[in-house]
C-alpha cells in the first residue's frame, strides 16, 4: 500500500506509548496488573448498562436464611441485628 511506511510509523508510536503505560501499570500493580478480576461482561452491552445486580434480597438462596432469622427468639434476633449493623 502507498501509505505503508506512514502506517508503520503510527504503529511504532502507538506501541511506544503502550509500553510506557504498561510499565506504569506494572510499577503500580506488579504482577497483578492486566484485566484480571473485572466483570467485563457488562461493558457496552446495549440495554443493560444502567442496571446492576442489586437484587440479592430476593434470591432463592436467602429464603431459608430469612425463614430461620424470622423464627428466632426476639433477643437473638436483636443480637444478630446489632452484630450486623
Amino acid at each position: 500500500m502507498p501509505r505503508d511506511a506512514e502506517l508503520r510509523a503510527l504503529h511504532e508510536r502507538d506501541a511506544e506509548i503502550g509500553r510506557a503505560a504498561e510499565a506504569r501499570v506494572l510499577r503500580t500493580y506488579g504482577e497483578r496488573g492486566g484485566a484480571a478480576g473485572y466483570r467485563w461482561e457488562d461493558s457496552f452491552r446495549p440495554g443493560e448498562q444502567h442496571s446492576t445486580r442489586l437484587d440479592w434480597v430476593h434470591g432463592p438462596w436467602l429464603r431459608p436464611v430469612r425463614f430461620a432469622y424470622r423464627h428466632l427468639p426476639a433477643p437473638l434476633r436483636n443480637l444478630a441485628k446489632r452484630a450486623a449493623s
Binding site: 503510527l10 496488573g33 461493558s43 446492576t52
Partner: protein, 520 residues
C-alpha cells in the same frame, strides 16, 4: 501544629455562624484564625461567645496577616466542617506537595428528617467543568500565598462560591480533589451553584474569547468559545456500504450520515474521506458519492476488516487540521455540532471533543466514557431530559474518553498518539486512544451542547473479545481503577454517577432533580 490555619467565611445569620462555630470547636485540628468577612454587631453574639473566646481561635472581621505557607479554608457560613477535615487538608497540602489548593466531598441535609445525609462526591480537577458550574463545592482550601495572589482572604470570602473557586483556581493553577467528606451543608440542594458573571470575568482575566450564557433550566453556564480562524476539517468515515433502516426507511447508512453533515450550514470546507472495504456494493458506493459530491476522497481498504486501521489510513489520506472521526451509522442532530466541537478545540489543552450521542429513539447512547472500572457509556439508556447527578448532563466537562463514532480530534494530537491501536480492530480502540491522549497531557471534553444520533453497531458485531480486555487492562489498569472524572466512593459497575448504597434516595441522587423518581 505550628502552621497557621485560617478559616474564612462570609457573614451569615447568627444561626448559621453558630453551626459553623460548633463544628470548628469540635474539629480535631482547630484553625488558628477565623475570618468572618464583613461581620456585623449581631454576629458578635456568636464570635464573642465564651466557648470561642476560650478556644484560642483568633476571630476577625476582616483581613489578618496571613503567612505564605498558611492554609486558608474558604467555605460558606452555615457549613459545618467535618471533625477531621482540617487534618486531612493539612496532610494534602503539606509543604513540598505538588498541590497548592484542594477541595473535597461533602454531605447535604436529606429531605426527610430521619433520612441519612446525601453525599456529594466530586471528580478530580476538571477546569472545563469548573467554568460550567462550581462543582468543587463551597469548601476550597489553598495555601496562604494563593489566597493573597487571588485578592486576599476577606475579599474572597465575600464572593459567590463560583467566583471564588475560579479566582483561586487561576492563582493555584489547579486544585487537588480529596476523596473524603470535608464538610456538611445544612441545605438540601445538592446541585452546584453557577454564576454567569463570574465565568464572564474569569474568561476576561484568562484571555478566553467566549460567549457565556446561562442554562435556562438549571444552574449552569455554557461557555461557547469563538472560533478565531476557521480550521479545515476532514471527516474520516470507514464504511462497507451497509444498508439499514432509519425511521422505517431503508438507506445506505454512510450516505445518510454524509447527507446530515452536508445539511449543516457550518461545514462549507468539510472534506469527507470514505474508507471503503473492497467488497462494498457498487450501489452503496454510488449513494455515498452522490451524497458527498465533490467533497469526497475515496480510499480502498483491501485487507481484513480492522476499524482502527481503516481510520488510521483515512487520516493519512486527509489534510484537515481537525479530524472528525465519523461512523457511517450516525446522523447529526444539532446543525451547529461541528462549530461547537471546533470551538472546544480552541482550548490548546484539549485534543478531542465529543457530543452527546443519542439512540434513534432519543435515549442517551453516551454522555462520554466512564471507567467504572470497566468502560461504560455514561447514562446510557437514560432520558436526555435528565440533568444527571449534580447537573452532570447539562455541563461541558472533561471525560476519560468519548466514542469515536463522532469525535473531533486535533490532527497533530492524533499523530502524536500514534492513531488508533491496530491491535484493537473492533472494540475499545477509542477508549485506548483517549487514554493515550491523556497520557500525553491532553484533555478530552464532552459537551451536551451538540447532539448526534448513533444507530450503534448496525454495521458490526458488538461482542467483546478476551484479547481486547487484556490489552486495555495491561495498559490502563490504573486509570480503570480510578477514573479521574469519577469518584472511587461511588458505586462500581453502573453507568450512572450513583452513591455506593441501595435505595430510592441513591437512585434519585444518581438521576438528578428532574428525574421522575425524584419528582413524585
Amino acid at each position: 501544629m505550628n502552621r497557621q490555619i485560617v478559616l474564612a467565611t462570609p457573614a451569615g445569620t447568627v444561626e448559621e455562624l453558630r453551626r459553623t462555630a460548633r463544628s470548628v470547636l469540635a474539629s480535631t485540628v482547630r484553625p488558628t484564625h477565623w475570618i468572618v468577612a464583613g461581620s456585623e454587631v449581631g454576629h458578635e453574639r456568636v464570635t464573642r461567645a465564651r466557648n470561642l473566646r476560650r478556644s484560642a481561635i483568633v476571630v476577625a472581621r476582616d483581613d489578618l496577616p496571613i503567612d505564605d505557607g498558611a492554609i486558608v479554608v474558604f467555605m460558606d457560613s452555615g457549613t459545618a466542617l467535618d471533625p477531621d477535615a482540617i487534618a486531612t487538608i493539612a496532610a494534602a497540602l503539606q509543604p513540598g506537595s505538588p498541590h497548592r489548593g484542594a477541595y473535597g466531598d461533602s454531605t447535604h441535609r436529606a429531605e426527610g428528617r430521619l433520612a441519612a445525609p446525601v453525599e456529594v462526591r466530586r471528580p478530580q480537577w476538571s477546569p472545563e467543568r469548573l467554568r460550567s458550574h462550581c462543582y468543587v463545592g463551597d469548601l476550597v482550601a489553598v495555601e496562604g500565598r494563593v489566597a493573597s495572589a487571588a485578592g486576599g482572604a476577606a475579599m474572597l470570602a465575600r464572593l459567590h462560591p463560583h467566583d471564588r473557586a475560579l479566582r483561586l483556581a487561576e492563582a493555584a493553577g489547579s486544585l487537588a480533589r480529596i476523596p473524603e467528606i470535608l464538610s456538611h451543608r445544612h441545605d438540601t440542594d445538592t446541585a452546584p451553584p453557577a454564576s454567569v458573571g463570574a465565568v464572564d470575568a474569569h474568561c476576561a482575566r484568562t484571555g478566553i474569547d467566549a460567549e457565556c450564557t446561562a442554562d435556562p433550566a438549571v444552574a449552569a453556564v455554557r461557555v461557547a468559545r469563538r472560533i478565531r480562524q476557521r480550521p479545515t476539517i476532514s471527516a474520516i468515515m470507514p464504511t462497507r456500504g451497509t444498508v439499514g433502516q432509519v425511521r422505517g426507511r431503508e438507506v445506505v447508512l454512510g450516505a445518510h450520515a454524509i447527507a446530515s453533515l452536508a445539511a449543516a450550514d457550518d461545514a462549507p470546507d468539510l472534506r469527507i474521506v470514505a474508507v471503503f472495504d473492497h467488497d462494498t456494493p457498487r450501489g452503496a458506493r454510488d449513494a455515498i458519492r452522490a451524497a458527498a459530491g465533490r467533497r469526497l476522497v475515496e480510499v480502498e481498504w483491501k485487507q481484513p476488516f480492522n476499524f482502527a486501521e481503516k481510520v488510521n489510513l483515512g487520516v493519512l489520506e486527509s489534510d484537515g487540521e481537525l479530524l472528525l472521526l465519523l461512523n457511517d451509522d450516525t446522523e447529526m442532530v444539532s446543525p451547529d455540532a461541528l462549530d461547537v466541537l471546533a470551538g472546544i478545540l480552541e482550548d490548546p489543552g484539549v485534543a478531542a471533543a465529543g457530543p452527546m450521542l443519542l439512540y434513534e429513539d432519543g435515549l442517551i447512547q453516551s454522555a462520554g466514557h466512564l471507567l467504572n472500572p470497566i468502560p461504560y457509556d455514561l447514562y446510557r439508556h437514560c432520558d436526555p431530559a435528565h440533568v444527571g447527578a449534580q447537573n452532570l448532563l447539562r455541563v461541558q466537562r472533561e471525560v476519560s474518553g468519548v466514542i469515536a463514532a463522532f469525535a473531533m480530534v486535533r490532527r497533530a494530537a492524533f499523530l502524536e498518539a500514534g492513531g488508533l491501536c491496530p491491535a484493537l480492530p473492533l472494540n475499545y480502540n477509542d477508549v485506548d486512544f483517549c487514554l493515550k491522549l491523556q497520557h500525553l497531557g491532553h484533555r478530552v471534553v464532552w459537551t451536551p451542547h451538540a447532539r448526534v444520533h448513533h444507530f450503534e453497531s448496525r454495521t458490526r458485531n458488538p461482542a467483546l473479545q478476551p484479547f481486547e480486555m487484556e490489552l486495555l487492562g495491561a495498559r490502563w489498569r490504573d486509570r480503570l481503577d480510578d477514573d479521574p472524572y469519577f469518584n472511587p466512593r461511588l458505586e462500581r459497575y453502573v453507568s450512572t454517577w450513583k452513591p455506593d448504597r441501595f435505595g430510592q434516595d441513591a437512585m434519585s441522587e444518581a438521576l438528578g432533580p428532574t428525574a421522575p423518581i425524584a419528582s413524585k
